[in-house]
């Protein structure tokens, strides 16, 4: 059984946010609209944070795509009173939408702030409703949602492999963000397979796991030269 993980090369990321758009389209993440976005009600399973270091003219900006890091020992899982969030055997941190009662304890416990609440009913203004992906459930008001590592694509890849009667190969699964990344900064795959691209990248000397010191065991690796943690400048644009 695979353990899914991701490597993001920050030195390649140019902050184009194609991953954000791709994720939104693939996973039926409704746009919040400018007013609600200004109030901090945006839902973005994938967002790009900007870390600005130094002062003009010696300024360096890092773009950091932030998504659920699918912790090995997730703080969000233990606090949920109704087991609406759980860790599946393949290492995905899954959210069961119908079970969620909306305590928001998971969101408050998550050190990465990557869980999103449906403050109101998600809506798509015409003609955007035509873009809704039939493979992914549309959520409703009052529940949490988050990145699934495009679990529908993982399922499809598994089905295809089973039909062809072969094991699932490295690169068979491409989450929407990885597929859309023109800089090829995002690599997804099986961390248990030592030959997979993501495994090799995760072993790299440039690799680091976010907030690893908390003991959460993230399955997303960031690759970079030098320290990317500067003073936090203006945050991601909504």
């Amino acid at each position: 059984m695979p353990t899914w993980g991701m490597a993001i090369d920050l030195d390649r990321c140019n902050g184009c946010e194609a991953c954000v758009v791709a994720c939104r389209t693939e996973n039926n993440v409704a746009p919040a609209g400018p007013e609600q976005a200004a109030l901090g009600r945006t839902v973005e399973w994938m967002r790009v944070e900007r870390h600005v270091k130094g002062e003009f003219p010696n300024v360096r900006t890092r773009f950091v795509p932030v998504l659920c890091v699918h912790c090995d020992d997730a703080p969000c899982v233990s606090v949920c009173p109704v087991s609406a969030t759980y860790e599946n055997p393949e290492g995905l941190n899954a959210q069961i939408h119908p079970r969620c009662i909306g305590t928001r304890a998971c969101a408050q416990a998550c050190p990465y702030t990557v869980r999103y609440f449906n403050w109101g009913t998600p809506k798509w203004d015409a003609p955007l409703e035509q873009t809704i992906n039939p493979d992914v459930a549309v959520r409703w008001k009052g529940i949490m949602e988050k990145c699934t590592f495009c679990v529908q694509r993982i399922r499809r890849a598994k089905d295809n492999a089973r039909e062809d009667d072969r094991p699932i190969a490295d690169g068979d699964v491409q989450p929407a963000c990885a597929q859309a990344c023109s800089a090829e900064a995002i690599v997804f795959g099986d961390l248990d397979d030592p030959e997979s691209a993501v495994s090799k990248l995760s072993e790299s000397a440039r690799a680091e796991r976010p907030l690893e010191e908390l003991g959460t065991g993230p399955r997303v690796f960031y690759l970079k030269e030098g320290d990317w943690r500067g003073s936090v400048g203006p945050q991601s644009s909504d």
Partner: protein, 441 residues
């Protein structure tokens, strides 16, 4: 003969508020109902639109509703804990105030837990945690402890009420069926008294660990996370101390109002305000000690994410509420309660109002400031939280509902335990008598 007359006088003055209702009270009830109705209207709006109409956002997922939840559950420690401790230590002066305190417990607990209804994203599924609990979640610990506490405190309010219910059964012009049913055939025989004493004694002992557990697990909802300045080992005791502290303040204010409204001056005497005032002063010192220890360790440890929250409290976005809290919870009570001259009824009430405001602010600061500053590496630009109209309306409605429940209680049952006061009176008389006999010998 004299003793009989005194008993009669005690009964009459304590039953009067139950039997007679002034017009002023109806006006107050109407106003409270208006506030509650407006809260209900706002809540209906929120049910329809979702929490989008409230002020919460990312990263402040928890707002005023949770603040009120913690605050009211804190208030609920007034009664049970104070009356249980005073009963166990056999403090004679407790007799007239225990019931007023125990009633606060039950109603504050009901108000506190009601916040879950508007806090949840899907309140229609509120029963799910009871059917399918995930036992590792501190929220489930809350559900368990609070339901035990609620049942316990209702029992603890009810038991000492039985002899008075029997009195009402015999003397009340209305609702006799209710009192007959509730008084469980109480006749006041020595055997019944012995049983009742034993039951009250048992509950007084049992309720103390339950009360302590309740506020401990409420604090663990925060402390069990890795959130900066929530993840703290002293949160359990810190919350319990704050709870008792605010509970005493609530009791003092309630006593002062009831005293005027229902002419209970002979029962809620200056000595009660003086003694409870001293107890509150002790708690103020203890509270400051905990607050200091909590903030000092963060400041010295200098962990950036923790310090971000600390700075927001000391000099940042939360500095006004923070320093108001310090003033209200410590400076004002210290100045008023330290001196016998100012430890009067008016003085203790002013100090209590300050403490209640301060303790509400403490809950607000703890919930909101940590939530506003998540670990900076991944912070999303959420903006600071400010409560929306629906949250303020529901907060006001809760306070109104609390007052209304109290009034309804006062109209159904005597607010001072008649039989216990009579018993105390008897002991006093006997003591006087033995005193004279001893003096003669």
């Amino acid at each position: 003969m004299e003793a009989l007359d005194r008993n009669q006088a005690i009964e009459d003055s304590l039953l009067r508020p139950v039997f007679q209702t002034s017009r002023k009270l109806w006006v107050v009830v109407a106003m409270l109902l208006a506030v509650i109705a407006y809260g209900g209207f706002q809540w209906a709006h929120q049910l329809k639109e979702g929490l989008i109409v409230a002020g919460m956002n990312q990263p402040v997922y928890w707002g005023l509703y949770l603040t009120n939840y913690v605050f009211f559950i804190g208030i609920s420690h007034a009664g049970t804990l104070i009356s249980a401790i005073l009963r166990l230590t056999d403090a004679e002066w407790r007799r007239p105030i225990t019931r007023a305190a125990e009633a606060i417990t039950v109603f504050a607990l009901l108000m506190g837990t009601s916040n879950v209804l508007w806090h949840l994203g899907r309140p229609e599924l509120i029963y799910i945690p009871m059917l399918h609990p995930q036992p590792l979640s501190p929220l489930i610990w809350d559900v368990a402890c609070i339901s035990v506490y609620l049942m316990g405190s209702i029992t603890y309010l009810y038991l000492p009420l039985i002899p008075d219910l029997a009195l009402l059964r015999d003397r009340s012009p209305r609702l006799r069926w209710l009192y007959r049913w509730l008084s469980l055939g109480w006749q006041g025989t020595p055997k019944q008294h012995k049983l009742l004493d034993r039951a009250i004694g048992f509950m007084a002992v049992a309720i103390i660990p339950i009360a302590v557990s309740v506020h401990t697990v409420v604090s663990w909802v925060f402390a069990m996370t890795l959130v900066p300045m929530w993840h703290s080992a002293i949160f359990g005791p810190y919350f319990v101390v704050g709870a008792i502290f605010s509970g005493i303040a609530a009791l003092l204010i309630a006593m002062a109002i009831l005293r005027k409204a229902f002419h209970l001056e002979p029962f809620f005497r200056p000595i009660h305000f003086n003694n409870l005032g001293l107890l509150m002063l002790t708690m103020a010192c203890l509270w400051l000690y905990f607050t200091f220890a909590e903030h000092m360790t963060v400041w010295y440890g200098n962990e950036p994410d923790e310090v971000a929250v600390l700075t927001s409290r000391l000099s940042g976005a939360f500095s006004t509420p923070f320093w108001t809290m310090i003033t209200c919870c410590f400076v004002i009570p210290l100045c008023i309660l330290s001196f016998k001259r100012t430890r009067t009824i008016i003085g203790t009430v002013i100090a209590s109002c300050a403490v209640l405001i301060g303790m509400w602010l403490e809950r607000f600061i703890i919930v909101i400031s940590s939530a506003s500053y998540p670990r900076s590496e991944f912070m999303h630009d959420g903006g600071l939280y400010s409560p929306a109209l629906v949250e303020i309306a529901l907060t006001a409605a809760q306070f109104a509902c609390f007052a209304l429940l109290y009034i309804v209680f006062a109209k159904l049952f005597p607010l001072v335990s008649i039989w216990e006061v009579k018993e105390g009176d008897q002991t006093e008389l006997e003591a006087e008598l033995t005193g004279t006999v001893e003096a003669r010998l």
